[in-house]
């Protein structure tokens, strides 16, 4: 089937412009991109979608998602997570290996891909564990995992504590062209901590997680990148000090990349007041100064990527005493509006913002997605940047509802998601508002 999407403003994150252009999709690829109105040839075999006044952008790639399957299907499945993804405007999700069993072997990687295929919504890119069982002791079989479809390795949720093992992981992963993603946390410093250590933790008597627990490990990973010359990607950056350290590493020309999550530039630690477990995340929501530093880091490209760290948890795990509650929040359905808020604030241009959700994560993972050009894969999203709405629990498609943004006003919404030239979700056909 051929699809003509016309009248929209096409966002090209790679070339850095937004222009009124029509786009034709054929055989799962983008066949033509033309100035608006030129393409006249219509026929019954062409389906026309008029998106005047809306944005056409590459489908977003989330390089940090917990899909929970296998093992924690009561929180999320690959099918429900895929649906939440396409609703949010994502066409590709890289899923973390902290499943049960851990994705540290080919059979789990293959299982994830099989389930993703069955769900049939979007592309799922498995991330495998760096070490067996995520225990930090023995490397997994990077070569076989890569061959089975893994795009990167990480022990996310835990750091690789042993620096020698991390060094060897970086060296060996580079040989196999696998991205290495590091969850930076000094587990001794953060032990027992449940929120950012600062004025709020002092005020409400909760054990703090100091910024230093993240920064110590960020600094270690930078030293290992310097030692080995191998790329390392820093997950969920949340502090002033981490941004500073990564900025310096990049100035030194080291192969270090970094991501942050929308909550780290949208919320601060005051969100925890009242013991709100939907604001309990690791790393924690930090101080307003940290939020500012994250925005600056995004603006000057110290932080390459916006990834959600979508971490579904059942109500049972959140509706408990704060210190007993699970860490993490969902993010697939709020990433786009929260990022567009940065554009309205003037922190990022539209193209730069979209790049951090598309091309940048794709290139770190070595995936040929996240671009809009002739002959590229037809994965895209049509977005209404002006749509204003209150984010409601009943709108959430993820199996879990643990979001601190419920009840908050958001602006900007995905309308239509196309994967491989096929419409996989549209707001219109779901008959729900703008």
């Amino acid at each position: 089937m051929t699809i003509l999407i016309k009248g929209g403003d096409l966002v090209d994150p790679l070339k850095g412009f937004t222009k009124k252009q029509d786009i034709i999709l054929e055989g799962g690829r983008i066949s033509r991109i033309l100035p608006s109105g030129i393409f006249k040839e219509v026929g019954p075999e062409i389906s026309i979608i008029d998106v005047s006044g809306k944005l056409i952008m590459p489908g977003m790639i989330d390089m940090h998602v917990h899909l929970r399957e296998p093992g924690h299907e009561y929180k999320e499945t690959i099918a429900t997570g895929s649906l939440a993804g396409v609703v949010g405007g994502f066409t590709g999700l890289a899923c973390m290996p902290n499943t049960d069993p851990v994705n540290d072997n080919v059979s789990i990687t293959e299982f994830i891909l099989k389930q993703a295929n069955k769900a049939g919504k979007l592309r799922v890119y498995p991330l495998a564990a760096i070490t067996k069982g995520r225990k930090g002791e023995t490397l997994t079989e990077f070569g076989d995992l890569k061959k089975a479809g893994a795009v990167g390795v990480t022990d996310d949720g835990s750091p690789v504590v042993n620096s020698e093992i991390m060094r060897r992981a970086l060296e060996y992963a580079k040989y196999h062209n696998l991205a290495v993603i590091s969850h930076c946390e000094d587990m001794y410093l953060s032990l027992g901590g449940v929120m950012h250590e600062g004025v709020i933790s002092t005020r409400i008597g909760l054990k703090g997680i100091p910024s230093a627990s993240e920064e110590i490990m960020v600094t270690r990973e930078i030293s290992l990148a310097r030692l080995t010359g191998c790329p390392v990607h820093i997950a969920h950056v949340s502090t002033v000090g981490s941004v500073k350290a990564i900025r310096r590493a990049k100035e030194d020309g080291l192969p270090v990349t970094a991501e942050t999550a929308p909550h780290y530039f949208s919320l601060d630690h005051t969100e925890v007041l009242g013991y709100n477990t939907n604001a309990k995340i690791n790393p924690p929501l930090r101080s307003p100064e940290d939020v500012l530093a994250i925005k600056m880091g995004l603006a000057d490209d110290v932080i390459d990527v916006i990834a959600t760290d979508h971490a579904p948890h059942n109500r049972l795990e959140k509706n408990v005493e704060f210190d007993k509650a699970a860490f993490g929040i969902i993010g697939l359905e709020t990433a786009l509006p929260l990022t567009l808020a940065l554009v309205r604030e003037g922190v990022l241009t539209l193209q730069a913002a979209i790049k951090k959700l598309t091309y940048s994560p794709a290139s770190i993972l070595g995936i040929s997605c996240g671009i809009l050009q002739e002959d590229s894969i037809a994965d895209l999203a049509v977005v209404d940047p002006e749509c204003e709405y209150v984010f409601k629990e009943e709108d959430i498609m993820s199996r879990s509802k643990n979001s601190p943004f419920i009840g908050k006003k958001l602006k900007g919404r995905n309308l239509l998601t196309i994967v491989g030239g096929q419409i996989v979700w549209s707001r219109e056909s779901e008959n729900i508002g703008c």
């Binding site: 600062g198 004025v199 002092t202 409400i204 008597g205 909760l206 703090g208 013991y275 005493e321």
Partner: protein, 312 residues
């Protein structure tokens, strides 16, 4: 009619100066009840109070129980080891089950900060926080304020030093909030390992050396050192703690001549407080315990009682 409009007492944070004054004034009449031969009034007849102690406690639990009984309320006490929570029931489920038996008030002691806040939103009975994790212990602060006012005739303008593990002390946190609201100046003291980050944001002065901190103070409040939990990480040995941070006669010389010594108990004699100081005329530690019953009677009455003339 009473002028106290709270369903729960979750922390000092929620109380206005007027609320605190009302509680202290009411506690004065209640104290008189405890001094009678027949220490019982019918004020809370027909009311049920559940003392739900998820953490061990002798003083606070007994104090709440006596307070309720002296007001003729029916009381039940449960502890975590004897409750369904030991069988894996969630706090909210346990609270809802208790709620289903129609109590008027639940007094909760819990090891997690914010636990009373969690159940207060889930059930309609009133909740009194009898100590939650490292957050607050508001009834301790109120009985301390009552004791200070009783001994000094006022609270405003007094200089108070709180010495010990400030970071992990719910007593310190509640007292800081209460004392600041009532116009006292608060200095906190102890080894840097026990002072929370950004402590000044609580409105206090930080002086690590206790001998310095005590200087010119009207009130010296000493906190219990939790030997079982804190040694080796927050300080090297009990011996070293008592040498550098323990309070003895010598260290008290710089305080005001009429300074009083307070301690929420239980005391580790010879660790944070020398025995001769604990037993000296300056010590009001047992008055604190006596006043605890009166203050808790006042709170029970204000939260679930009827008209103010009922106590006569």
């Amino acid at each position: 009619m009473k002028n106290f409009h709270h369903k729960d007492l979750l922390g000092m944070e929620q109380l206005s100066v007027k609320d605190i004054q009302l509680i202290l004034d009411t506690a004065e009449s209640m104290k008189e009840v405890s001094q009678r031969d027949i220490k019982k009034v019918p004020t809370l007849r027909g009311k049920s109070i559940i003392n739900f102690f998820h953490e061990p406690s002798t003083r606070t639990r007994t104090s709440f129980e006596l307070a309720a009984k002296r007001l003729s309320a029916d009381t039940v006490s449960i502890s975590s080891s004897g409750s369904s929570m030991a069988k894996g029931e969630t706090l909210i489920d346990t609270a809802r089950n208790l709620e289903a038996m129609n109590p008027d008030l639940i007094v909760l002691r819990h090891s997690s900060s914010g636990a009373p806040h969690l159940i207060a939103t889930e059930i309609s009975a009133g909740i009194i926080n009898a100590g939650d994790g490292t957050n607050e212990h508001p009834t301790q602060a109120l009985l301390d304020l009552f004791t200070i006012r009783e001994k000094k005739g006022k609270i405003k303008g007094l200089k108070v030093a709180i010495i010990g593990d400030i970071e992990h002390s719910r007593v310190a946190r509640s007292n800081i909030i209460g004392l600041r609201k009532m116009g006292a100046e608060v200095t906190v003291s102890g080894p840097p390992t026990m002072i929370p980050v950004e402590a000044e944001s609580l409105g206090v002065i930080v002086i690590n050396n206790p001998t310095e901190a005590i200087k010119d103070k009207d009130i010296i409040m000493i906190l219990r050192i939790q030997l079982e939990r804190q040694s080796k990480i927050l300080f090297p040995t009990i011996r070293e703690y008592s040498t550098y941070f323990g309070i003895n006669k010598e260290s008290l010389k710089k305080a005001k001549a009429d300074a009083i010594i307070m301690h929420p108990g239980p005391i580790n004699r010879g660790v944070e407080l020398a025995s001769d100081v604990a037993d000296s005329p300056f010590s009001v530690i047992l008055d604190q315990v006596t006043n605890g019953v009166a203050v808790r009677m006042a709170l029970l009455y204000l939260l679930i009682g009827g008209r103010s003339d009922d106590i006569d």
